[in-house]
């Protein structure tokens, strides 16, 4: 049971350092993965998550006490945390792992769970907001797995997040195939953010202004190792092959609809009978 009447909320925002969205992806020379010797930045969906957390606090200053950014990544991921701090997060946690390790969603979810349980002693986490997927693997699994492991409700593909008056739940509008769905989740909850929040103009990640970049220097980053959390991040999946998609070949022109249907039949695409 939560102490009433004022229960202050702590938001955790996991962020991931990925290859920058604007970079042209190439397979690396040894064919084992993509060329990572390029510019990296924060996963754009996670940027939206940070922005959403900061806006929630701007809307309800009395309710949100702390926004903590966390990343599980190599040493260079500190830059990503600094960006989150410059955007408005109060503090950050860096779980450092070796450069060579490419963690999988389940591993990350387990690590986040271990961290959340560890944080219960200090200040419990009430809301986890993260990007719905990372643009490098497009897995889209971590948020859901985390909710499952913690046995918390989950609201994925969120385009709008509203904390209820009594601060015991969140109302989340989700983007689903059929349209939009609004659900109410009791806190603590995992929310994953969708790109849509940008287009509906509810969320456009702020540029880290220069004064905020300078302020971010003074905000604390706690360093942890994966052993501190007692989680094994060994990959369970083995990548067998990595290759570029086949080069596009030109199409052919058809003279009329009959020819089009004939060509489609040739290609094995037949009509579905009612």
């Amino acid at each position: 049971m939560r102490p009433s009447p004022v229960s202050l909320l702590r938001i955790l925002v996991p962020v991931k350092r990925c290859v920058d969205y604007a970079i042209k992806i190439r397979v690396n020379p040894s064919g084992t993965g993509i060329d990572t010797n390029v510019k990296h930045s924060m996963n754009p969906f996670d940027e939206i998550a940070v922005e959403e957390a900061v806006r929630l606090r701007e809307r309800r200053k009395d309710v949100v006490t702390n926004i903590t950014a966390i990343t599980i990544g190599p040493t260079k991921s500190t830059e990503t945390l600094r960006t989150a701090l410059a955007m408005g997060a109060d503090s950050a946690i860096h779980v450092e792992i070796p450069d060579s390790l490419s963690p999988e969603p389940l591993g990350i979810a387990k690590a986040l769970k271990a961290l959340i349980e560890r944080e219960k002693q200090k200040e419990q986490v009430d809301l986890v907001i993260m990007g719905k997927q990372a643009i490098d693997d497009d897995a889209g699994q971590t948020g859901q797995m985390l909710a499952g492991l913690l046995d918390w409700p989950q609201a994925t593909y969120a385009s709008k997040v509203v904390i209820s008056e009594d601060q015991n739940s969140v109302n989340v509008t989700r983007e689903v195939d059929g349209g939009a769905e609004e659900i109410k989740c009791r806190l603590p909850t995992v929310v994953t953010t969708d790109l849509r929040t940008i287009h509906s103009r509810l969320n456009e990640p702020r540029y880290a202004s220069l004064p905020n970049i300078m302020k971010a220097k003074k905000k604390p980053i706690e360093k942890l190792s994966i052993e501190d959390l007692g989680v094994d991040l060994t990959p369970r999946l083995e990548i067998l092959k990595f290759q570029e998609p086949p080069k596009r070949v030109g199409g052919g022109k058809v003279a009329n609809v009959d020819e089009l249907v004939a060509k489609l039949k040739e290609a094995g695409i037949t009509a579905v009978s009612n």
Binding site: E79, R82, A86, Y207, S209, L210, P211, M214
Partner: protein, 416 residues
């Protein structure tokens, strides 16, 4: 010749394993010093570069063409610059600034110039000329009043040149007469950047023509004290940056609005122009890089005679040469900036950086048009704009001849 032949034949040299040779070479360098290479930036500086790049691409980029065609700076751009803290880069956080390094200011100027040199010069003049004079020479009362405004909302302008005094700056004639409770300013200024939008003007006037340059004094004049815009120039390049002639007709300026002391304006102006030079070097550097970045990708898409034009050796050599020139300009610029930060003498290096950057900016932007062919010549792609914008680099904040003269003076001092 014989020695070289002997070395090739010499068995002892041939038998030294490559690894040992390299190790011997590298360990001697490590032992020597831990001084970093010239293109090193702090984490904050890198973050700043990324943030400005995004701002420039998202907010400035879509407006560049319209601003150029209309010869007008979009208010949203100026507002955005203030909101991002880019107009108070070196100002103390006590006054609402970002309290960052001089190099950070140069980074901002460079990144803005990659997208629009007009926006870059607006930010450059404001930061490196106006803000710095207030930071270094204003009284505590003046700083308390003006620095927060300059950091957060009001654009500044630097008024030195006149119709009859450009390179010969200190032959200026604008007159300031001391009255009972104010200074009375009369005269006119020409070629003043930012003047159309600015609210705070630093005006150099003489309080005593008989004293020559020792009469020149720097005044803080606010727009509502009666400054008149006589004419807005129509220019070849940096068209969105306002360049106006100003008239001062019996403008009354409070007695306390002198910066740096009576008759000390000359020294103040010389010092500040030396720093400002590095800013222009940064602008020209960004311009060259921006033109390069816009044109080169196109050369790998445009196919003629069966392959991308960028794969022809003639093109490759030109692109390589341009890349070398940009890198050289970059190192000159940032080294001059760091020298200034370290308190080392930097006047010669600043002159070299400004001179060289403006020269290669013209060359690279001109080549960029040719690489893109007909498409480069049309205004639509924005490549030709860089070439038009680059011309002013050799002219303002000290013409190329003045820079060469400055450098030559150092040579003469050293060698004669």
């Amino acid at each position: 010749m014989l020695r070289i032949a002997a070395r090739i034949v010499c068995p002892a040299f041939k038998n030294v394993p490559t690894a040992a040779r390299t190790r011997a070479f590298s360990s001697s360098r490590v032992a020597a010093s831990h001084i970093a290479s010239l293109d090193n930036f702090s984490e904050e500086e890198e973050m700043l570069r990324d943030a400005v790049k995004r701002f420039a691409t998202d907010v400035v980029g879509p407006r560049v063409r319209e601003m150029d065609e209309k010869e007008m700076m979009a208010p949203e751009v100026i507002k955005g610059l203030f909101e991002q803290g880019l107009m108070g880069v070196e100002i103390s956080s006590d006054f609402g600034g970002a309290e960052s390094s001089f190099t950070s200011a140069i980074i901002v100027i460079e990144e803005l110039a990659k997208v629009d040199p007009s926006v870059s010069v607006l930010c450059d003049v404001h930061n490196t000329l106006v803000n710095t004079i207030f930071r270094k020479h204003a009284t505590p009362e003046q700083q308390k009043k003006y620095l927060p405004q300059l950091a957060q909302s009001k654009l500044g302008s630097f008024c030195l040149s006149e119709a009859a005094s450009g390179s010969d700056a200190f032959a200026l004639q604008t007159r300031a007469e001391k009255k009972a409770d104010h200074w009375l300013l009369n005269g006119s200024k020409m070629w003043i950047t930012n003047s159309f939008e600015a609210e705070i003007f630093l005006v150099f006037a003489t309080i005593d023509p008989s004293k020559g340059y020792k009469g020149i004094t720097c005044f803080i004049v606010e727009r509502d004290m009666g400054i008149k815009i006589a004419k807005k120039e129509q220019k070849l390049g940096i068209r969105a940056s306002s360049t106006c002639s100003l008239d001062f007709d019996d403008v009354q300026v409070p007695l306390e609005n002198i910066i740096g002391g009576e008759g000390l304006g000359y020294k103040l102006a010389i010092e500040i122009l030396n720093e400002g030079r590095i800013g222009i070097a940064g602008q020209m550097l960004g311009l060259a890089q921006g033109a390069f970045d816009k044109s080169v990708p196109y050369t790998f898409q445009r196919k003629q005679f069966g392959k991308p034009v960028g794969e022809f050796q003639g093109m490759q050599f030109q692109q390589a040469e341009a890349a070398v020139q940009i890198e050289a300009a970059r190192l000159l610029t940032y080294n001059a900036a760091r020298r200034k930060e370290e308190g080392k003498s930097f006047v010669k290096e600043a002159a070299m950086a400004k001179y060289y950057s403006s020269v290669i900016a013209q060359k690279v932007s001109g080549a960029a048009i040719e690489w893109a062919g007909g498409v480069g010549f049309t205004r639509e792609t924005g490549i030709e704009k860089y070439w038009r914008d680059s011309k002013i680099g050799a002219i303002y904040e000290g013409t190329s001849n003045i820079q060469l003269q400055t450098i030559a003076k150092f040579i003469q001092k050293e060698y004669s």
